[in-house]
């Protein structure tokens, strides 16, 4: 280990985000090191053996391992340095960059870099974070853990499964377990609509005649040592179990697909402000957090539904991290002029949360509606000062205007705001979403 080396960019995580960021930073002329906790690069894609990845980025339907392989090949062809099976235990910010303390089999290592890219992905919400009564027997797994057991280790989580939560991983595991001979008693969702992509409901649940119970939750788990049954309850519009609606389902495992949360322990330790709506760092269009030199991308920023956009945000972060490191190396970091992005209307969140008007980089904005807008909606983007309290007027002052046929919270939308348009902003940028057919 070369202790005195100062890398231009250190990337934390070798999943799709980390690899794309590292490749982009390398191509921008930076010296780059990737630190990965696991044995092999590829992140969660290693266990996502189903296809449907890469339709946007490659115009091909790839499996997770195939998508990862392209990033790994790109990294290998550039001779990128990957420090695997290494855990970052501490990061400190100094005058000219960051000092990292890492642990691996060879002991403790100190690493230094000018720019830091957080590509740490997300974690699953567990049974401790959703309110389920009853016993705590073996056989309760998160969907991602069950996926790792089946796809990486060749182990079945049980013989009869109940799945709580209709996120994409839960839907995909319903199909995967069925194909491996497990009886899937049903997929149950507390909300009145499915959380995952519509096509996954078709190809993972309907295709196999698996029961799908909406407005239904698991209210109790039964079993002394192993799960023996779960109690299902219908819920009211405030998601509270309806008395007298309980029924029992025999099963020996309960799979939870109840949400993903960006992983930001290191960001928090550095004082990086998070967005309560995304639970990830607030960033500008360069994926630059509010702490100079700290960049973030992929699912660490917000949980994406498509890996293609994880890669896109990571390439942006990698290029920007390289540019920042170049500036620091000559002692002249580029000063930022940040304007906040405000949302109006039924928006769950929008990323980025800031626009750097001093940057020549276009803003790729990702957003989700907070409810299903079946009749579509109009989005107007412009200077906040120009917006009336009631919403946007269709004026030449809007930077971007877009019409969406249908918006659903599980399906992320995207638009590009050219830097030439946002450069003149002197105050906040506003995203206003107005549902069609509503006053």
């Amino acid at each position: 280990m070369k202790r005195e080396t100062i890398y231009d960019v250190i990337v934390l995580g070798a999943g799709p985000a980390g690899l794309a960021a590292a490749v982009a930073a390398t191509d921008s002329g930076s010296s780059v090191l990737v630190v990965e906790r696991e044995e092999r690069p590829g992140g969660i894609l290693k266990q996502c053996i189903h296809d449907g990845f890469g339709l946007v980025r490659y115009k091909e339907k790839l499996t997770g391992p195939e998508y990862a392989r392209r990033d790994i090949a790109a990294a290998e062809s550039r001779g990128l340095y990957l420090l695997a099976e290494t855990f970052v235990s501490r990061v400190e910010k100094g005058q000219d960059g960051f000092a990292l303390t890492c642990v691996n089999r060879d002991g403790l290592h100190d690493l230094r870099c000018r720019s830091l890219v957080l590509a740490t992905g997300c974690r699953e919400r567990t049974d401790r974070q959703v309110f389920i009564h009853g016993d705590r027997p073996a056989g309760v797994y998160t969907a991602g853990l069950a996926q790792a057991m089946v796809n990486l280790h060749g182990l079945l989580p049980g013989r009869t499964a109940a799945i709580l939560g209709s996120g994409d991983i839960g839907l995909i595991m319903a199909r995967r377990l069925t194909l491996e001979g497990v009886a899937v008693a049903g997929v149950f969702e507390v909300k009145a609509e499915v959380s995952g992509l519509t096509r996954n409901v078709q190809q993972c649940v309907r295709d196999f005649g698996i029961p799908l119970g909406l407005s239904t939750t698991v209210s109790r788990v039964f079993g002394r040592q192993r799960v023996e049954a779960v109690e299902l309850s219908r819920v009211d519009e405030r998601l509270r179990p309806l008395p007298g609606s309980a029924s029992l389902v025999d099963c020996d495992c309960l799979i939870l697909s109840v949400g993903l949360i960006p992983e930001n322990e290191i960001a928090v330790s550095l004082g990086v402000p998070l967005d309560p709506a995304t639970r990830g760092p607030q960033v500008d269009q360069n994926m630059h957090s509010l702490i100079d030199g700290v960049f973030a991308c992929g699912n660490a920023v917000h949980v994406n539904d498509l890996v293609d956009y994880v890669s896109e945000s990571a390439e942006t972060a990698g290029r920007a991290a390289a540019a920042w490191a170049r500036g620091l190396a000559v002692g002249q970091p580029t000063p930022r002029r940040l304007q906040p992005v405000k949302t109006q209307g039924p928006l769950l969140y929008a990323v980025p949360q800031f626009v750097d008007t001093a940057s020549p980089v276009d803003t790729i904005c990702y957003f989700r509606s907070n409810r299903t807008l079946a009749s579509g909606a109009r989005l107007a983007v412009g200077p906040a000062a120009k917006f009336a309290a009631t919403g946007p007027a269709t004026t030449a002052e809007n930077f971007v205007e877009r019409k969406f046929e249908v918006l659903r919270p599980p399906e992320m939308e995207r638009f590009v705001l050219p830097a030439a348009r946002s450069a003149g902003l002197t105050g906040a940028l506003q995203l206003a979403l107005k549902p069609e057919g509503e006053a």
Binding site: D51, P65, E66
Partner: protein, 142 residues
């Protein structure tokens, strides 16, 4: 009789709601043979791929198959595999049963044929990742 089927297109994440109407095929103006192609009408697709998918889905649904195989002499116990083409939806479970006994022998490259002519359908199962040899492990993984 004109049965109408509705389903969600699975070609891309957009997930268009397709309505497919199947009518009695009319005789082709030139050959006089029944024109089955025009007898299936697809509404709601945002692109041409959706129309093709809708036609197929209404008549004989096809699905890709991705699964894993046990390995031998490899650095890990499972190899992810994919079908070289889509197979009939109702054969997916049969295919998984047939693949249960197949063992992938390391080394393999992504794209290598691991099992040829699955169920006599003319479809191969391909490795969807590289599989490296584990020098310390000649035995088959469980």
């Amino acid at each position: 009789m004109s049965p109408v089927k509705q389903f969600t297109c699975i070609v891309c994440p957009r997930g268009c709601l397709l309505t497919v109407e199947i009518t009695e095929p009319a005789a082709d103006a030139v050959s006089g043979a029944p024109n089955y192609l025009d007898a299936v009408r697809v509404v709601g697709a945002a692109c041409g791929r959706g129309v093709v998918y809708g036609r197929q889905e209404a008549t004989a649904p096809l699905r890709s198959l991705t699964t894993t195989l046990r390995t031998s002499g490899a650095d890990r116990p499972r190899l992810p595999v994919r079908s070289s083409a889509d197979l009939p939806l109702e054969r997916l479970l049969d295919a998984c049963i047939a693949l249960d006994t197949v063992v992938a022998q390391a080394p393999l490259r992504c794209g290598d044929v691991v099992m040829a002519d699955l169920l006599g359908l003319g479809i191969d199962m391909l490795a969807s990742d590289d599989l490296a040899v584990c020098p310390a492990n000649g035995a088959s993984h469980g």
